[in-house]
Amino acid sequence: MAQRIDVKDLNIYYGDFLAVQDVSMTIDPQSVTAFIGPSGCGKSTFLRTLNRMHEVIPGARVEGTVEMEGVDLYGDDIDPVAVRRNVGMVFQRPNPFPTMSIRDNVLAGVRLNNRRISKSAAEELVEASLRGANLWNEVKDRLDRPGSGLSGGQQQRLCIARAIAVKPQVLLMDEPCSALDPISTLAIEDLIGELKQDYTIVIVTHNMQQAARVSDRTAFFNIAGTGKPGRLIEMNETSTIFSTPAEQATEDYVSAPFLVRASQDVAAVGT
């Protein structure tokens, strides 16, 4: 079920602006890959090329290949819709459909397949997905209320529930926890751990601890300056990236002073 992704010499453009340059990487199946890097370096942009969401933006295009099990996602005979069905996505900002109830939000992707899903199967799926996103208890008795009435964190968890409800083969997550409280974050992180048994997972995060906790491999992106394209600096086992990175830039980034401070803080709390 999980699928390997090979990216070769990928250049990503917004119109004439080269946003990300020359990325090649391999994303392993049944593992979690984390993307880290400073803001604006193109993590989100790159992530969106993996399920062809990038081309939704007018003028946006890519050069190079993204292969999934040897099949170029940008090949002529490939249907972007099928790509997106197999490569799910959770966004930075929660975006539940405001016109749908909580239940319908979870079922939104499933319903698209026009499959007449039986009522009981639907109920089960809703519960399983919401439990997976650690939202079940909070919303179980208002499944028919609009999804937009939830708080930010609840909304994001609803979106995660919606994404996992369609059981994709690859799951892309763009800072999925940035609007979540620690308990929800923890639940999601645990969920990621479970999901990777079957899926290929890619996560963008600003939270070093999160990257360290959940990912098997980490890719560090960086940007030389404004207007310059983002680049993949280094990709390796997560422990290697955080302990003995090959590049100086990576080392500078992952051991930025705050991180030291943070560990001190935590140490202080722990005692």
Binding site: Q3, M68, E69, D79, A82, L112, N113
Partner: protein, 322 residues
Amino acid sequence: MSTATIPDPSGTTEATARTRAALTGADGARRRKDRTMTVLIWSAFVVAMAPLVSLIWTVLSNGAARISMDFLSLSMRNIFGGDPSGGIYHAIVGTLIITALATVISVPVGLLAAIYLVEYGKGVLARAVTFFVDVMTGIPSIVAGLFAVSLFTLFLGPGVRMGVIGAVALSVLMIPVVVRSCEEMLKLVPNELREASYALGVPKWLTIVKVVLRTSVAGLTTGILLAVARVIGETAPLLVTVGVTDSINFDPFEGRMMTLPVFAYRQYSQGQATCPGGESATCVADIAIQNAWGAALVLIVLVLALNLIGRLVNRWFSPKLR
């Protein structure tokens, strides 16, 4: 998700083949439906273009021959029968003045009422305004005209005909359209922006003026232009409020005025002219209908120009989103 039940692949080529199958052979029915809808939506567009093209072509082919400098710069004073030397300057002037006046009356009232509904409105008054604005869209145009006449008759006695009465009649028709479309546009401004402004210590009225109106100005312009278009072609209410004249009148507060739609309608109604000596350069039997088409063409060009201005305003001010 046809692959969901297939066991984990062992051979790479097999996995490739299956992946390719999953990524290409998407659900045929859904793809077909998508195609069908795309075709339908394209054809909806073509269907809508057919009358537009036909209409424009009709007006152009019938009206273009009549357009000349004289036609645009002369009035119909002392022109009658098959005499082709008159023009529609008086009607252009009248249309511009009366429509402008109606816009000047309707836009502030309509926009402010929309602001009231979106930004302040709650309770009985707001519900009443919303509801009665809807009702107002149902006033037949002739009734609006009769209303304006009887209103002015109260103050000025019977028989007064002047541009401003027509403008009032048109305003009765225009205000609800302005309110409705402005209301829709204002509602689309995200609350986040209002909150951002309030949090900067900006009073509500400045927030409305500088953030809400500014953000929605493009939509508002479109809405107002639609409302202008709604009334610029009105005939019936102008006939009873402004009357008709052949001469030029720049003063909407004194005397009759001619407007383009009324002119076109009257000319169409006149039908054939009599040419006692037969058709000649000075007597054209179907001059009236030619005049009607000519006026129609000018009216459309006028509206087109207004629209163009609106577009430019729109382009200028629309938020650079996304």
